[in-house]
Symmetry: C2
């Protein structure tokens, strides 16, 4: 990992574009805003872009008000892509940016990262892209002010679901401690990202748990457009919390939430216990992710999609994979 080259490139640049993946989560926004705030502290004026602008639930992150919804029509010396495993995932912002930037830097922690761009800073051992950034900033000797510590901890806490994933190491906890020491409010971040939810989420869980089924070590739940409408919801929120709940069932090795997005399209979230790898299934379905957490969006009716995907998951749940 060549952080000194990265440091020199950014320190020498003026027009810097920062992008992340579409449907940004805590680590996407965390890494995007952390790098924005760090570069500002170093006298730069980077432009962070997310398709559609800042998601409401992460607007508490200081510095996130700088995020814009579209790439300004300029030339850029460098575009940094954060937390995106491939170019497609960076959406319109990435597409527009690739046409306007001389150089693309790819910073990520997904093991499935395709290695795009002119410079890759990808560390699959890191729990979050913000952990990758922390390692890099520290290697460069860049001190971490509070405005950078907060978004870094947001990424760390959300991608590990509060230190609960199997990839958390003593190093992760040391980084969290250092970020809290630098002023990032751990309790507050827990409350705002993992613990608070609207009442509609309870109604969504109710609708989903009515369908919960455990068969051959695969636990699954279904969110249909009809079920969501009956619960008074236009759209499902927080499928992440729900699937985390399902995979914590002792008898389950694999968990799946099937969410009807339109009449002919189903979004699938997958989780697995250590030793059971769901990333292959997600890939086969045109999606992506990690061994223990992945997902895909598949064309077809709910029934068609489940008839296709559930047998794939049961095969995975049958025995421990040798690789993991």
């Amino acid at each position: 990992m060549n952080w000194s080259e990265f440091g020199a490139l950014l320190d020498g640049a003026t027009r810097i574009l920062l992008v992340t993946h579409v449907k940004p989560d805590g680590d996407a926004i965390g890494s995007l805003v952390a790098l924005t705030n760090m570069l500002r502290a170093r006298g730069k004026a980077p432009i962070p872009v997310v398709d559609g602008g800042m998601p409401e639930f992460l607007k508490f992150v200081p510095g996130s008000e700088q995020v814009v919804g579209q790439v300004p029509a300029l030339d850029y010396e460098v575009m940094v892509s954060l937390d995106a495993s491939d170019e497609e995932r960076t959406g319109e912002a990435g597409k527009e940016g690739r046409g306007r930037a001389w150089k693309v830097v790819n910073i990520d922690h997904h093991p499935t990262n395709t290695g795009f761009g002119e410079m890759q800073l990808v560390d699959a051992a890191a729990v979050s892209t913000t952990e990758v950034l922390w390692n890099g900033f520290t290697a460069l000797g860049w001190a971490i002010p509070e405005a950078v510590a907060v978004p870094l901890l947001v990424g760390l806490v959300t991608d590990t679901i509060g230190f609960r994933t199997s990839n958390v190491t003593p190093h992760t906890l040391r980084v969290a401690s250092a970020l809290a020491e630098a002023g990032a409010p751990l309790y507050d971040i827990f409350q705002k990202t993992l613990i608070s939810m609207p009442f509609s989420t309870v109604q969504m869980w109710r609708s989903a748990l009515e369908t919960a089924e455990l068969k051959d070590r695969v636990i699954s739940a279904t969110l249909t457009l009809d079920g969501l409408r009956k619960a008074g919801l236009s759209q499902a929120s927080d499928a992440g919390g729900l699937i985390g709940f399902l995979i914590s069932v002792n008898e389950a090795r694999v968990a799946a939430v099937f969410k009807e997005v339109t009449a002919g399209s189903v979004e699938i979230s997958l989780r697995s216990k250590p030793g059971y790898d769901v990333s292959g299934v997600a890939f086969e379905l045109g999606g992506g992710g990690h061994k223990q957490a992945s997902g895909a969006t598949v064309a077809g009716t709910m029934e068609e999609v489940q008839q296709r995907v559930l047998p794939m998951l049961r095969r995975i749940a049958r025995r421990k994979s040798s690789a993991s």
Copy 2:
């Protein structure tokens, strides 16, 4: 805090009795077993006692097989009480031990500790009694082997509900990192203490969420004997997780779970957001607890109990209490 005196006392003793509080939780067993294993590593043969013996769900803690259910009829040079805020809380084991021990050492982290015993090592700033022990062992220069690190981390993780309580500090995270470095398996401990649940819990949640209601800032859910039977359950488990879920709803200030225990008796669990105090209601109903978490068991049918209790809760939810 005089740890060197504690070290000298224990190093000079031969017959050592260790006790904790009744209905032991992760921090009670964690601190009891951690001190047991540490003293064994120092060539001692302490006797750890818990009324009724080891609780099933914590038997995975290495060294917990040494815990016995009754105080052997010997004389003891010293009895150490761990994680108990008063003498009463140490149950039969403590009562028997006080009659047989020459000296009592009181190690705890509860701010309500009564200061009993001949030596007090009480630190109300610590998140768990295992954090108090870690600080002490470190002050004494006693190296922490894996067999001690595991129970110490069990106490730390369970008492903070996985680092989620407001008293977690950068120091807590540093201790957790050091314990993980020493071989304590964080992921495993999460799985075995906070995350794992039987599939029947999902069915219990399904039954409860069907009844979930939000009115006047009070969110409530009901578990009837009939509903539990339909879910294939003889008894409700994990009402704690359920009420934690309900109080995380943004629109709610107070959460209540009403659980039918027998045809004429209802167990009520209460939670509130900071600034809203449910301990008074619990007290009025003959129960007890803290401002933000309390409970009671009330005689009457489900309907009678709810008609009595819900208006009390709505009054609490109406405005912030001045005291909290």
